[in-house]
């Protein structure tokens, strides 16, 4: 993994008052994204608008595609053309992207997709919040694969985690997701953009050996294959079919085993390096509240109230949602009374908490259908019940 400093052209150094959607765009530009293919959809459109305004001034290209099917696959083409690329969407658009997210996984394409979640299913609540795509981001395309998904809880983190998402996507050659939501997307806060020489950027893993020896899917020592750029004379082939090291289709169970296991293993085997969580007072906690995105900010109030009431409550915030921090949660489960998991859906990440807890402790879910955040009182009441 080769790190360089950010290209100052894309970095809007300074202290700004931005909403999360704009901050995602600035994060992408700072990370070196020079291709944006998008399609308007509430509540994510502002990211595309910001890109359309900013990217012509930094030497990149913005194109509004005809639909989300087109926008996601235009990114894959642009990445093979040598660019860093991203798009943004929300619920219905995210559903449309699923097939080609699978292609990006299969072709091992570094790219970033931000999902500013809204309430679903279907058209649902275009202008109101939700956290209902958390399982879709992990499992939404057909077949077995793995991805990385991050969840920012503020406009500042929208900026920071979009850069992080680019770095992870380039490191592991995998589509990486910024799973924010309408609340954070439309929340205006202070966003500090550091000078370019303080931003570390992971460069694409370019191949530099002899041209006739290039194998697009031969794993390097770190398990990740090298990339080349179309037009550089490698005359390579790549396909969405199950393929060998050459990138040639091989339709049998043996090749499928190698090809698909690799897609999952390269993420699972590096989970410890990828996963970021934030913990507070978890050491001697009886109850731990696990949350992510906007819900972690709402839950904090409930946690403070519970502490005042004398309950020993810790907080764990998922910054990385996928891969799921199962080791840490399994470990914490041994010594506590219960986990409390509020989220704006009827039970998604809580399933992972239950799975990794493996019966060692109780898990209380605090559901919300979407349209607004929890009332902190509702989370407090569940903490109280869990502490009994």
């Amino acid at each position: 993994m080769k790190k360089v400093k950010a290209d100052p052209k894309g970095v809007l150094t300074g202290s700004h008052y931005l909403d999360g959607d704009y901050a995602i765009a600035e994060g992408g530009l700072a990370a070196g994204c020079r291709f944006f293919g998008g399609y308007p959809i509430t509540p994510s459109t502002e990211t595309a608008e910001r890109f359309s305004e900013r990217i012509p001034k930094v030497g990149g290209v913005f194109i509004q595609m005809e639909d989300e099917l087109a926008s996601i696959i235009s990114l894959i083409g642009a990445v093979w053309g040598g660019k860093k690329a991203m798009t943004v969407t929300s619920g219905p658009g995210f559903s449309l992207m699923m097939e080609n997210i699978g292609l990006a996984c299969m072709m091992e394409i570094p790219l970033v997709i931000a999902n500013v979640q809204r309430g679903g299913p279907s058209t649902g609540l275009p202008t109101l919040t939700g956290q209902q795509d958390m399982m879709q981001v992990r499992w939404g395309s057909h077949g077995d694969y793995a991805i990385i998904a991050l969840s920012p809880d503020s406009p500042q983190e929208c900026f920071d985690l979009t850069i992080e998402a680019f770095n992870l996507s380039e490191t592991y050659r995998v589509p990486t997701f910024v799973m924010t939501d309408e609340c954070v997307g439309h929340m205006h806060e202070k966003v500090v953009i550091p000078p370019a020489d303080e931003i570390d950027i992971v460069e694409r893993k370019w191949y530099s050996g002899p041209k006739d020896k290039y194998l697009p899917y031969k794993n390097d020592k770190d398990g990740i294959p090298f990339m080349v750029k179309a037009g550089d004379g490698y005359r390579f082939h790549t396909t969405g079919l199950t393929h060998d090291e050459k990138g040639y289709p091989v339709i049998n169970a043996e090749c499928q085993d190698v090809c698909v296991r690799h897609l999952v293993d390269k993420i699972n085997n590096n989970a410890d390096k990828i996963i970021k969580i934030e913990e507070e007072e978890t050491d001697d906690a009886e109850i731990i509240v696990i949350s992510y995105g906007i819900t972690s900010r709402v839950a904090y109030r409930a946690v403070q109230k519970a502490r005042k009431a004398g309950i020993k409550v810790g907080r764990l915030r998922l910054i990385t949602c996928w891969p799921f921090p199962e080791k840490r949660i399994h470990q914490l489960a041994k010594n506590i009374k219960a986990f409390v998991v509020p989220e704006i859906n009827l039970g998604q990440m809580v399933r992972e908490v239950e799975r990794t807890t493996a019966g060692q402790t109780k898990v209380f879910h605090v559901p919300h259908c979407g349209g607004w955040v929890h009332n902190p009182e509702d989370i407090f009441n569940v903490i109280k019940e869990a502490a009994k």
Binding site: F35, S71, L75, G77, A78, L103, F236
Partner: protein
Amino acid sequence: MKKEDKREERSPMEDFLRMDRIPHIWCPGCGIGTVVTSFTEALKKNKVDLDNIAVVSGIGCTGRVAGYVKMDSFHTTHGRPIPFATGLKLANPEMKVVVFSGDGDIMGIGGNHFIHAARRNMDILVICVNNFNYAMTGGQVAATTPIKANASTAPYGNFEFPFSLPYMAEASGATYVARWTALHLRRVTKSIQEALNKKGFSFIEVITPCVTLYARRNRLGDGLNLLRYYYDNSEIKHGADTKTIDIEYQGKLIVGKFVDKEKPTFLDAMNKHLSSVLGDDYVLYGRLNNDDRD
């Protein structure tokens, strides 16, 4: 025999095809291979730098073309080679990008992408092999199946109005539009040569025999019978009004070059417009003047 006496046999296609993937999967009598031959012939005649050309295919019989050509080649998802090619072209404007796919891929599932790429005048060449049905999946009815023709999902004959591909291409804004059959190999080659030299969205439809499915289901005989049908029923009419060239079942085939006009490409229009509006704030994208393309 002494070693030096042994003459190495070399296929004339070796420079263009991935010989380690031959034999291909296409059926005897299929027309896709002949279109690939015309394509490679055009590359040879135009002296195209094979490092600087990409072939993008979707899914289906013609979708397999990307797997056989020895250049940067991308086998993408069903219906999506055009937006993939759009991203590739915009990321790397100096490359020639060719979409090579079938009628189902380009005009059925991918129809929306086709009209929009043509509207934007994206600088790509789309070669659409039209065999009147979904062949890879077993001969289902397509957006191109002529009325009355039989297909596995139109077992009583097709009653839906089909698309006329050149009409669609012209109406959407393509700057080069031609139609040929698998019989007109030299003409196909010439059209590909012209289109490769042209800036803008170029579209070439090539009508080809699908012996295994379309012809068999409709009792039209073998590949030779279909070539005979093309021979007897094709009429070359350059510049024909694309409104008037619909294809009827086993009817007349109007072929030729219908459109060849100039219009700024997406990138030319973008560079020109944004430079005039933003002035020095605008960073020119790609090469503004790449008229030395051929």
